[in-house]
Structures are given as C-alpha cells and as structure tokens.
C-alpha cells in the first residue's frame, strides 16, 4: 500500500497520539501541551482536506485495519460524505480550540486538551468506520470525552445537567447494543456493507425482528441527533456547558444525522424486506416538529446560550426534514445545509461567550444592562450569527433553506416542509430580534454591583472567523453544492459502497 492510501487512518491516529502526549506534558509544560493540541487540530484539518481531495475521483476507498479483509476485519471507508464530515469537524475543532486557548477556558481544569482530542478521535472514527460495532465504540469514545468537556469548569448547574446527560446517553448506548445484537443475531455480521447484502436475503420468519432492530437503531441515532421526542436532554446540557464546548457540541447532533444518512439507505434501503425504509414515515413528522419546537425555544430563551441550544435543535430538525424525504436532490440540499448549520450554531455559541464575558452580573441573559466594551463589534457579530442560523440572506443559511425548499417542491410532503421551514424562520427572527434589542439597544445606568469587563478583543477572532466561513460557504455555494450533490449520489446508490468494501460481491 502506498503512503496516500494510509492517509485514511490519519484523522483517527492524529488525535489518538496527540491526546496522551498532551496529557503527559500538560502539568509541567503547559505551553508545549497547548501547542501540541493546536498542532493536532491543524494537522487533522490538513489530513481531512487531503482526504477530500482524494475523494474527488468518486471512488470509495477502503482501509482494512491490520490487513484483515472485510467482512471479517474492521474497515475504514472513505466516501464523499465522510470526507465532508471530516473537513467540517476539523474546521470546527480548530476554531473552537483557538477560542478556548484565547479566552483561557482550557486553564479552568487540567484535562481540557486531552479530552478535546479524544472527542475528535471519536468524531472522526464515527465518520470513517464501516463497521457497526466499531461505530458504537467510537460513539462511546466521543461521549465519554464529551462528558468531561461538558463538566469542564464545573459549577452546580453544569453538574445537574451533567447527570441527566450522562444517564440518558448510557441508556441510549444500551439501546444501541440491543439493536446491534439483534442485527448480529439475524445476519451474523457487523460489517455494514455485508449486513446490507444479508438483510436482503433474510427468510420471511425473521422480518419482524429485522424491522424492530431497524427502528431501534434509528431511534438511538435520533437520540444522538436530539429529534423530537428524544430532544429533551439537549437544551439544558448545551446551555449549561461552557459556550466554547457547546460550540464544539454543535457537531455532535450532526453525528446522529450522519449515522442516519449512512445506515438507512445502505442497510435498510429498498431491498431490506420488512425493514425497507422502515424509519422513513416516522422521521419526517419528528423532524418537522423538532424544527418547530427548536425555534419556539429560540423565541422563549432567556439567555443567548439557551437560544443557541434551541437553534441547534431547530437546525437539526430542518436538516432532517430534507433528509427524511430520501430524494437525491433533497439529500444534496441537506448536505449543503449541514456544514452551514453546524458552523452557524457554533458561531452563535461563541458570540454568546463574547457577550457573557463583557457583561459582569448580566452575562448573556436577554435583559438590558449597562453598556459594555466593544458593543458595536459584538452586536454586529451577534446579528450576523443570528442571520446565519435563522437563514436570512445574505448568508449561507438562506441558500441552504432555499435549496431545501426547491428540492422538495412537488413532493407530497412539500406543503408540510414549506410551511414549517418558512414559519419557523419567522419565529426565529422574532426570537433573536428580541434578545438583540434587549442586550444591545436598551441600556440601564450602571449600578454598583455590575461593572463592565474589558477582556480585550482577542475573543472576537473565533466568532468572526466562523461567520467568515459562513460567508465563504455563501460565495462558494456553487462548488459546495456540487460536492454535496456528488455525495448524495453516492449515498442514494449504496451498490457502489458495497462493491468497494466487498469487491468479490460475495458472502
């Protein structure tokens, strides 16, 4: 194998090596540890971009770990969808890491950098793996790291929300194991491509179990993606976590969406007997209700962080409503909206941090307080982030929502999707307008208890960069939509994925 073909494992290997070294040097040489961690993020971004370039020839690359051939060994599979997710995760990680270092968040505990790297290890692994049990393991890795990151900085509110978050995810993992055990018991394989072939050949007696397993598995992914009615854990957790950590978590719900996009067409596609598209009728109503509840939460949120948490929920709902039609062009629109919604949600959390650091005593609550430093710059960033997440022109949210509307035009579900997407946008605008005017326009005379802090302008870099990326997504909408369309074409035709993983087409 050439060096280029080994590159597939780099996004998993880099954080796995950086994390323990960062842990070792952190106590004695902080700066070295921080530099190592930042270097890890940048190296990961470089590897992800190189993999994206590799994926351009439309071939699906398979990396058999340890040389054990599928379906017996564990494989990493690089398709266009995985490459897009890798680039997105590495970009977001670099942004958030910069922000955490600049604002000193990483100094509030010892293990921020190692946990951050393990989180990335879990994310990248989940995007690349072609094995269902391996997906479970990477989910656990990213969850364990996220527990640590979520509690980073501590505080009573964070601990209370942390207990809920941990318990619900352990129950989720239990369900994942049950679904996976059922699928293994039925098909005798854990390799997703192999499973796809065997599911199609199951006898009639097993169809009921298969359907149960399919729905259970998708329910677990829906829990990770925080889709109604499994969304209740998200707002409290994200609003209680440190804003920079919550910004990284913006991609965690997208891992659930990724898993749904990866597994459903591949394993439970048209050939799957009783399980063929079994989750489809549930997914669309749930997604639409999620968007509705999310934007209602934006309207009701009392702090910018709470609003941002609900906005992440809402954007996942909007994203999945396009996915749930399972049409190629709608899937392409969703894959354009996915990077946008992740970056926009992260930008909003970072802006919330910038607001909170400047208003002592008021933090980021939507209440008028005394004037604070850099008010105009922060206000501009808040407005742009809000425009981005709600989906108004000129930023990429508008393009994304337009693509979703256009691609679902003429479908039976179109009235529901159009009504929800357009209606929730209006609710979102109202919500953010209320917060923005309370924080930036109304000011009270300063009282003795509250003083304005001036943390410098360095903490505006990361939010500005995130919004700059949204601008780049808008300007580069042509090439990005081409990428998304090509990725959607690969997803909707799983035969090529199966052919790449199992070249003999055997089993």
């Amino acid at each position: 194998m050439s060096a280029a073909s080994h590159l597939i494992i780099a996004p998993v290997l880099i954080p796995a090596v950086v994390a323990p070294f960062a842990l070792l040097v952190m106590r004695r040489r902080r700066r070295v540890g921080v530099a190592l961690s930042l270097f890890g993020c940048v190296a990961m971004l470089a590897a992800a971009i190189a993999l994206m370039a590799q994926a351009q020839d439309d071939a699906i690359r398979v990396y058999a770990i340890g040389g054990w051939q599928p379906p017996f060994g564990i494989v990493l599979v690089l398709a266009r969808l995985a490459a897009i997710m890798l680039v997105l995760a590495a970009t977001l990680a670099t942004l958030v890491m910069t922000h955490a270092v600049v604002t000193g968040l990483d100094r509030k505990g010892w293990h921020f950098h190692p946990m951050f790297q393990f989180q990335l290890l879990g994310l990248n692994g989940a995007f690349l793996t072609g094995d269902l049990f391996n997906l479970f393991v990477f989910f656990e890795v990213l969850l364990i790291a996220s527990y640590g990151l979520m509690l980073h900085g501590q505080g009573t509110a964070r601990l209370k929300a942390g207990v809920h978050y941990v318990v619900i995810n352990i129950v989720g993992s239990t369900l994942f194991l049950i679904a996976m055990g059922l699928l293994y018991g039925l098909t005798g394989t854990l390799n997703m491509a192999d499973m796809s072939l065997r599911v199609a050949a199951l006898p009639a007696g097993d169809q009921g179990l298969l359907r149960a397993a399919a729905l259970l598995l998708v329910a677990v992914f829906a829990l990770k993606a925080a889709i109604l009615p499994l969304h209740l854990w998200l707002p409290r957790t994200y609003a209680a976590a440190a804003p920079a950590v919550a910004a990284l978590f913006a991609i965690m719900t997208k891992v659930g969406v990724y898993a749904i996009i990866r597994v459903v067409p591949l394993v439970f596609g048209a050939d799957a007997g009783a399980a063929a598209w079994a989750p489809a009728p549930w997914l669309l109503p749930a997604a639409l209700l999620t968007a509705l509840v999310g934007f209602a939460g934006v309207l009701a949120g009392r702090t910018v962080r709470e609003q941002a948490a609900y906005a992440v929920l809402a954007s996942t709902g909007t994203l999945l409503s396009a996915v749930a039609t399972w049409r190629e062009d709608a899937l392409a629109a969703a894959l354009y909206y996915l990077p946008h919604s992740t970056l926009a949600g992260a930008a909003l959390f970072l802006v919330a941090d910038a607001i909170g650091r400047r208003r002592a005593g008021y933090a980021d609550s939507a209440a008028p307080g005394p004037g604070f430093a850099d008010r105009q710059a922060v206000a501009a960033l808040f407005m742009l982030a809000a425009i981005g997440i709600v989906g108004l022109p000129p930023l990429s949210g508008f393009v994304g929502k337009l693509l979703i509307l256009q691609s679902t035009f003429g479908a039976d579900e179109a009235p529901w999707i159009w009504g929800t997407v357009l209606g929730t946008t209006l609710i979102g605008i109202l919500g953010f307008a209320r917060t923005g005017s309370a924080i930036f326009w109304k000011t009270e005379a300063a009282n003795a208890a509250s003083r304005s802090c001036t943390p410098g302008q360095a903490d505006l870099i990361a939010p500005a960069a995130a919004i700059g990326l949204l601008g780049a997504l808008t300007l580069g909408a042509g090439p990005v939509t081409e990428q998304a369309a090509a990725a959607a074409a690969q997803i909707i035709a799983p035969d090529r994925y199966i052919g790449a993983v199992l070249p003999r087409g055997a089993s």
């Binding site: 527990y147 009573t156 209370k160 809920h164 239990t174 194991l177 055990g181």
Partner: protein, 120 residues
C-alpha cells in the same frame, strides 16, 4: 426448563428491574438501574451468538462444531465500556450530591426542601 427459557427470563427480569430503577428519583437508584440494564444487555448480546453448550469458541481443523466467538468479544468490550461509564456516573452522582445537598436527580431547591422535611 430449557436453557433458552432461563436466559430469556433472566434478561427480562434484569431489564424490567433496570427500567424501574432508572425511573426512580434518586441518583443512586438510577445508577443501580443502569448497572442492571447493562447486565441484561450483556446477557442479550451473549445469547445473540446462539446458546450453545460444550463447544470451543475457536476454529481448528479437527473441530467441526464450534461456538460463535464474536459475541463473546463484543460482550467483553461492552463490559469494559459500561464499567467505565458506571464509575463516571457514580462519581458524578456523588459530586452532584455534595454540590446541591440532595441526591434527587434534578438536584432542585424543592427536592432539597423535601429532603430536609423528611429528616425532621
């Protein structure tokens, strides 16, 4: 009674107990519930390789019949992960108790008031 009946009953009883305890209001009971659930899942995964008695899990040229080794490996991984998770949940529940003064899962002020009422 067949082996299948025994294992199925055990999984069912563990799951029922686990779900009941998970829905309780105290963190310690919830942690116990999670542990029971993980036992149930481990048994379930193990049974997914079919219940076979007295066969080696390794393949060799002389054996014709062998037990499926993969679920055993899966259960091992699952045990390690749940062990770590349970340890984390216990620590977290303890910290939450020490910080909020109550072991109610919500850790709310009302729960604390009820606790103090009960002590009197």
């Amino acid at each position: 009674m067949s082996l299948e009946f025994l294992v199925a009953t055990a999984i069912g009883a563990l799951t029922a107990g686990g779900i009941y305890l998970c829905l309780r209001a105290r963190t310690f009971q919830v942690v116990l519930g999670l542990t029971l659930l993980s036992y149930a899942v481990n048994l379930f995964l193990f049974a997914m390789g079919r219940l076979i008695v007295d066969r080696p899990p390794l393949w060799s040229k002389t054996t014709t019949e062998y037990a499926d080794p993969l679920p055993q490996a899966l259960v091992l991984t699952a045990i390690v992960i749940t062990f770590g998770m349970t340890a984390l949940a216990v620590t977290l529940a303890l910290r939450s108790f020490l910080e909020s003064g109550t072991d109610q899962v919500d850790g709310s002020a009302e729960a604390r008031a009820i606790d103090e009422e009960a002590k009197r």
